[in-house]
Amino acid sequence: MGTSDTGIVAGRLPPAEIEANFTDLHAPLTRHEALVASDRCYFCYDAPCMTACPTAIDIPLFIRQISTGNAMGAAKTIFDQNILGGMCARVCPTETLCEQACVRNTAEERPVEIGRLQRFATDTAMQANRQFYRRAAPTGKSIAVVGAGPAGLACAHRLAMKGHEVIVYDAREKAGGLNEYGIATYKAVDDFAAREVDYVTAIGGIDIRNRQMLGRDIKLADLTARHDAVFLGVGLAGVNALSAEGEAAEGVEDAVDFIARLRQSPTKADIAVGRRVVVIGGGMTAVDAAVQAKLLGAEEVTICYRRGKENMNASEFEQDLAAAKGVTIRHWLQPLSIVTGESGTVAGIEMAYTQIVDGRLTTTGETTVIAADQVLKAIGQTFEPVGLDVLTLERGRIVADAEGRTSLEGVWAGGDCVADGEDLTVSAVAQGRDAAESIHRTLMATAAPAIDAVA
C-alpha cells in the first residue's frame, strides 16, 4: 500500500514494487537471443556503425565472433577500443550512435541490436573476470589522473597497460564518476559501475585516491611537479541556476543530486519523492530524473522544456521511454518563479510561455502555474574551473586539441570538462583513451635516447 500524501515523502508505492521498477531497463540477451541477433549483422565493408561509435569498436568483427560462439573473443575486440564497453553497452544512446548507422535501418527500419550484443559479450568476460591485458614493462613514469569518471578510468587503464604508474585523484567517496552517481538506476543495476571500476583497475598499476579534490586538497602545480604528466577528467561539477525567483525554496533540488541519492541508496523505497513533480530541462538528465520520480510512485510528473520537441537533447528513444512511463513532456515553457505554500515549501511553479521571434527565444507574456510539491532542475551542468584558472577555457570548458593536450605543457584533459566534450560516456572514454596514447607517445619520445647520442 503506498501513500498519496502531498509533500515529498518516501513509500508512495509498496517497497517490492519500487524495487521491481528499478530492475534492468533492457534484460540481457540470452545466448540463444544473442545468436539470433548476431545473425542479422551483414558484416558490412567499412561498416558505418564503426564510424558512428566514438570509440570505433570493430562492431562487425565482435558480432561475427558472437555468432561463431566466441563471446570471449568478442569481448576482447570491444575492450581493445573501449575498456568501459560494459557500461557503454548499457548507457549509450545507440539510436543516435552505432545503431542509427546500421544499414538494416534502410532495409527494414530495425537495426542490429549492437548495444545489447555488446553487453552480452562484455558480460561474458566480466562475469568470468577474464582479464585480457597485461602491463608492459615498467617505464618508471608516473601520471596523475584527476577524476575517476569514464574519461579518467579509460585514460588510467591505457596508461597502466603501457607500463606507467597511475594515481587517480577523485573528489567523491566512490570512483566511477557519473557512472556511479549519474546514470539512471535501471541502466546500471546490481552495482555495475563499481564492479566495472574493479574490473578496469584489476590490470594493476592504478591507485585510486578518493576524497581528493583538486583545488581543495591538491593543487595542479603540485601534480605537475610530482608527476610526469597530468590528465584532467573532472567532468562538470557545477549545475546551472534556474534564475527563477524563489529557487532556494525547500523542495527545489538539482536533478543530478536527486539521481545521485537514488543511485547511492541500497533500497530505492527509502527515497522521498513529490506527489506532483516538475522537471525543468530537455536533456537526458531531465528524462532520467522524471522517469525515476515516476518509478518511485509520483502521481504526476511533468517535464517542462523551453523550446520545441526537435530541440530536446534527449533522444527520441528517451522521450518515448518517458512517455511510456507516464511522464508528460510540455514544450515552450520557461520557469518564472517558484510558488511556495504557507510553510515555505514548494507548492507550484509559475511558467512563462515562450516562442522564437527573429531566431531568438522570448516569452509570449502568457503564464501558467503548474502545481508541484517537488521541482527538479536539469538545465545543464557546468564546468567548475577550481584551481585550473591557468588553463585556457572556451565557453566555460577546457580547451584541448585532438589528442587532449591543454594549453599547459604536460597537462591533458578529456571528457565532459573539455570544450568539445559531447556529454556522452562513450565520448569521454574515447578522449581518455586517446589522451593516454598521446601522453605515452610524448613521454616515450623524451625518454628515448636521441639518435645522435647513440651514434
Binding site: 545468436l35 539470433v36 545473425d39 542479422r40 551483414y42 558484416f43 558490412c44 565493408y45 567499412d46 561498416a47 558505418p48 544499414v103 538494416r104 534502410t106 532495409a107
Partner: protein
C-alpha cells in the same frame, strides 16, 4: 486450376510429392498421417530380408549444419534400413494401401546381392498391393559394409544384374535408386536401363562427416566417443542432385528414362526445378523431418499457383522443359556480355559487393564517389561474373544486364557481336586451331 495429378511409370498419385524411403515412412502410423496431410505417395522405409531385423545405434543418428537463425541446411544420418520385422511392415503396407487406394505406395527393398534373396522377397511385397518397388542401391553407411546399398550401387554390373532379376520376378514397376557417391552418375543410370528398369530415382544421401565435436575430437553424431561417416541430405545437397538429374535427362543413352527427383526438395520451387530438369515427380524427406508433414500444403499450392500464373496446365507441360538448355561449357556463347548494375534506390550501403569484388575479384565496384560512400559498378572493369549479385543481402538490388549487340563493352573496348560464338571455334582454343589447320 492447374492439374498436378501425377502418373509416374503408370503409378498414379494426386500430386507429384512423395515421401522418400526414410524414417517418415517407417510405420503405418507415420504414413497414415502423411496421407492425411496430403502427400501424394510414399516410398516405404527400406525392407530387408526375412529374419531378425537390423539394429540401429542407440545413440544419436543425426547430425546437421545450420544457416542463419539455426535454419537447418544439411542433415546427415547413420540410420539403417527398417529395424522392424518384415512381416509387420508388409502387413501394415497392405492395410495402408487398402485405406488409401488413390495414393502411391512403393516398397523400397534392400536384400543381399544374390538372386535367391530377391526372388524370395518380391512375391511377398507384391502381395501387399504395393504400386511398385524401389531398389535401394544408395545407402552409403552400414549396409554398404555388408555388401548392400551403395556397395551395389557403385558397381554398374551389379545394378544391371539385380534390376534384371527384379524385372524377371515381379510385374511391379521397378524404380532403381542411385547413389551419388560415384564419379559419373550416367554409368549406373545406363546400367539400370540396360537391366530394364522402369525408372531411376536420385539422389540417395552423400557420404559425409557433418561436423566434428571439438571437445571430444570425434565426428558428429558421436556414439560413445566415436563417429562414422553418414548420409548427407537436405537443402545443401540440392545443387548436386539437380546436376545428376540433368546429366541423366540429357544423356543420349538414358534420355527419356523416367526420373524421380530426390535431394533437398523443401519448397514448391525446389520441386519445380527438379521437374523442369527432367524429373517426373519428386521425393521429400529432410524438409518433412524438419517441419512436419504440413509442408506439403505449401508445395501443392505453390506449384499449382505458379503453373496457373504461367499457363502450364499439367505436369507434362513442364517436365523436362529446361533439359535442352543444359549444355556443356564449351557451347556457351562467348559473345554474350553482361554487366552488373546496382539499383541505388534499393542499395542499403552495406558495401559487401565492393569488398567481395575488390578483395576477391575484379576491382569493379566503387566504395566512394566524390568523397561519399557510394557503391557503383565500373563498367570498364566489370567482367559480369555475378559475384556481387550473389553476396548482396537485398533481393534484386544488383542485377546482371546484358549489353545490346552493337553497343560498346567498355572493358574490352570492343563492340558487342550479335553472332553466337563458343569456345570450340575460339582462336585461343588450341583444339580449334588444330581443326582449322
Amino acid at each position: 486450376m492447374a492439374d498436378i495429378r501425377n502418373n509416374f511409370v503408370g503409378i498414379k498419385s494426386p500430386n507429384p510429392f512423395w515421401l522418400a524411403s526414410a524414417p517418415p515412412t517407417d510405420k503405418a502410423y507415420n504414413v497414415e498421417r502423411a496421407f492425411k496431410a496430403g502427400w501424394g505417395g510414399v516410398v516405404w522405409k527400406t525392407l530387408g530380408e526375412e529374419g531378425p531385423p537390423v539394429v540401429n545405434v542407440n545413440g544419436p543418428r543425426y547430425g546437421a549444419i545450420w544457416g542463419a537463425d539455426r535454419r537447418l541446411l544439411g542433415l546427415n544420418n547413420i540410420e539403417l534400413i527398417t529395424d522392424r520385422d518384415l512381416q509387420t511392415n508388409l502387413r501394415e503396407m497392405k492395410q495402408v494401401k487398402m485405406n488409401w487406394p488413390d495414393r502411391a505406395l512403393i516398397a523400397s527393398i534392400m536384400v543381399p546381392c544374390v538372386e535367391e534373396s530377391w526372388k524370395a522377397i518380391l512375391p511377398l511385397v507384391e502381395e501387399t498391393g504395393a504400386d511398385g518397388i524401389e531398389l535401394n542401391f544408395g545407402c552409403p553407411h552400414g549396409m554398404s559394409e555388408r555388401g548392400m546399398g551403395s556397395a551395389v550401387g557403385q558397381v554398374p554390373e551389379y545394378i544391371e544384374m539385380v534390376v534384371r532379376w527384379c524385372k524377371q520376378y515381379t510385374r511391379m514397376p521397378v524404380i532403381t535408386k542411385l547413389t551419388p557417391n560415384i564419379t559419373d552418375i550416367r554409368q549406373p543410370a545406363r546400367a539400370a536401363k540396360r537391366g530394364g528398369t522402369d525408372a531411376v530415382s536420385l539422389i540417395n544421401t552423400i557420404n559425409s562427416i557433418v561436423s566434428v565435436d571439438l571437445d571430444n575430437f570425434a565426428p558428429n553424431p558421436t556414439v560413445g566417443g566415436k563417429g562414422s561417416h553418414g548420409g548427407y541430405c537436405g537443402p545443401a545437397v540440392k545443387p548436386i542432385a539437380l546436376n545428376m538429374v540433368a546429366e541423366i535427362a540429357r544423356d543420349a543413352e538414358t534420355a527419356g528414362l523416367p526420373i524421380s527427383g530426390i535431394g533437398g526438395v523443401t519448397t514448391w520451387r525446389d520441386a519445380a526445378e527438379f521437374l523442369v530438369l527432367g524429373a517426373g515427380n519428386v521425393q521429400v524427406c529432410t524438409a518433412a523431418m524438419t517441419y512436419g508433414f504440413k509442408i506439403v500444403e505449401e508445395m501443392i499450392t505453390g506449384l499449382s499457383d505458379w503453373m496457373d500464373e504461367k499457363g502450364h496446365r499439367t505436369l507434362d507441360d513442364i517436365t523436362g522443359r529446361a533439359v535442352p538448355n543444359v549444355t556443356d561449357w564449351q557451347y556457351l556463347n562467348l559473345n554474350y556480355i553482361a554487366k552488373a548494375r546496382i539499383d541505388q534506390d534499393l542499395c542499403i550501403q552495406c558495401g559487401r559487393c565492393h569488398i567481395a569484388c575488390e578483395d576477391t575479384s575484379h576491382q569493379a565496384i566503387t566504395s566512394m564517389v566524390d568523397g561519399v560512400r557510394h557503391f557503383q559498378v565500373m563498367e570498364d572493369e566489370c567482367v559480369g561474373c555475378n559475384l556481387c549479385v550473389n553476396v548482396c543481402p537485398v533481393d534484386n538490388c544488383i542485377s546482371m544486364v546484358a549489353l545490346e549487340p552493337g553497343t560498346l563493352d567498355e572493358r574490352t573496348g570492343k563492340i558487342v557481336d550479335p553472332t553466337y560464338a563458343n569456345w570450340t571455334t575460339h582462336p585461343n582454343n588450341p583444339m580449334a586451331r588444330q581443326a582449322a589447320e
